[in-house]
Amino acid sequence: MDREEVISVKEISKSFRTYKKEAGLLNTLKSIFRRNWIRKRVLHNISFEVYKGEIFGILGPNGAGKSTLIKILSGILYPDEGFAKVLGYIPWKDRKKLSKHVGIIFGQKSQLFWDLPAIDSFELLKDIYGIPEKEYERNLRVMVELLDAKEIIRKPVRTLSLGERMKCELTASLLHNPKLVFLDEPTIGLDILAKESIRKFIRKIAKRRKTTFILTTHDMKDVEELCERCIILDKGLQIFLGKVEDLKKYFWGRKVLTIKYEDKINIPKIKGLKVLKAEKYKIRLEVDTKQVKIKSVLQKIFSPNVIDIEIQSLDLEEVLKRIYRKRW
């Protein structure tokens, strides 16, 4: 494929030195004098590429190493081993140069003056990045229009809702036309409508400006709707790299049947039918429709004792839950 490489990461590893302390006052006192240092592996042998204009997802449960990876790619941390190139720079060596072309958002933190309208923070960013007046005005106008944020940017940030604030954060990090934007959980805590409009905006910017986005998130809907490809980390290990479609395809055609019943029902032994969870008067079954048809399973199970049947397909969330629990 003849696409421009924006990020290339080769076999990056990182570990932190931290100390272990047992609970209790005595141990606290002890730890003042002697610390039990341990090395904790945060990333191990990570490799991937990201191309221009792509929205690339970094997924993983808490503590998987997502933020560490973003910090390495933006040059705040250097890795213990491995090599990375971002926009042609080695991030931890050329952070200053790289920073001109990069935008970053930490969904849980703000880069805006809390007590001032966001527009004042934008003006400061204009000076810090040295954005020419015309370009600044044009960019601001476009963002404000796309995000429907004309009123919002003139109110003190502390009075804004989370969704409104996120619109301002997005604007702030895109004013200098970055080629690459890191979004660390941009939709965290937002309601469905706000999430929807943020996602729409990110899609548009990626398409129009060919901006590359690196997105870490817990929200599988973000990934399903935005990302074409993603990487999944778990305890610092790379457990998946590829198309989001492929991830879903693996579980394609698998359905979950939840059956409620009274008294007793008979669960036949069929190939492609698996019991997920059995409770009193309720059972969850997984059906692989490539091996057995839902219809025939239902026919075999159905009896006057069955009260309710629910059929669901596996969504990405369920898929990930299984990956994390190592239950492929």
Partner: protein, 260 residues
């Protein structure tokens, strides 16, 4: 030019906190008036013309000027850095194409400029209306201003070095407090350092702290050798400048190695 615009924008943000802005000034004025009353009593009951070369009028202006200088030098880079690291967005500052120490300096400078024009000068004028002119000459006044600028640079460097502690300890609050308290004993806010026993005073002369508020005040009042004071200030600045850069680079290495 860029620095100027950044200062202008940051100054705007300062004015958003109006109560905080004028609150501590009122406290400071009350403090000056209280000290004036105490010294008035001392002079009244002791029947002295002057103490260690300070007349009552000199002392009034000593307290006015030293308080105003202290306000002007109230550098809180360390506090802001700690807040940024603990709750805010220190990381995103590292990802801006501006050096973090320079940003801290501009940020603080913007506050000081606002302070000088909206707080310190007006207050000084009000005091002059009440107590008359200070015992300064034009030369001592000009040298006083230079010496305050040097004192400010010195204070910025000291405070910045303190702020790097946050990267090596989990919380540096305690250290800041100890420093602040210790500083107030030897910066001349309570009484002119000359009132200390001679041995203590002669040791203090070789520390950087009297050159922050005490000596600049004396320069204003035409009670110190200007060039001597400026000379010591320059020496301390030249010493602390490379040291603070070294500490910052040490902190950066630590941040890059272990995160914040």
């Amino acid at each position: 030019m860029v620095a100027f615009r950044i200062i202008k924008n940051l100054a705007k943000s300062r004015l958003a906190y109006k109560f905080e802005f004028f609150g501590n000034l009122i406290f400071s004025i009350l403090w000056i008036l209280l000290l004036v009353v105490i010294w008035q009593a001392v002079f009244l009951f002791s029947n002295l013309e002057s103490i260690e070369g300070f007349t009552f009028h000199d002392l009034i202006f000593y307290y006015i000027i030293i308080q105003l200088i202290r306000h002007g030098l109230d550098v809180d880079i360390s506090y802001r850095v700690e807040q940024l690291v603990r709750y805010g967005n220190f990381v995103s500052f590292l990802l801006k194409p501006i050096s973090f120490p320079i940003f801290c300096f501009l940020d603080d400078l913007s506050e000081k400029l606002v302070n000088i024009f909206l707080k310190i000068l007006p207050t000084f004028l009000v005091f002059v209306l009440i107590f008359g002119l200070p015992p300064s000459t034009l030369t001592s006044f000009l040298f006083g201003i230079i010496s305050v600028i040097f004192a400010y640079l010195l204070m910025v460097l000291i405070d910045f070095m303190l702020s790097t502690l946050i990267f090596f300890t989990k919380s540096s609050h305690g250290i800041f407090d100890v420093f602040q308290t210790g500083l107030h004993l030897i910066d001349g806010i309570l009484f002119p350092l000359i009132f200390f026993p001679e041995k203590v005073y002669s040791i203090l002369l070789y520390l950087p702290f009297p050159y922050l508020t005490f000596f600049p005040t004396l320069v204003f009042l035409n009670k110190a050798d200007f060039l001597n004071v400026l000379g010591f200030q320059v020496v301390w600045i030249l010493l602390f400048f490379p040291l603070s850069f070294f500490l910052w680079h040490l902190s950066l290495k630590r941040i890059e190695g272990a995160g914040v």
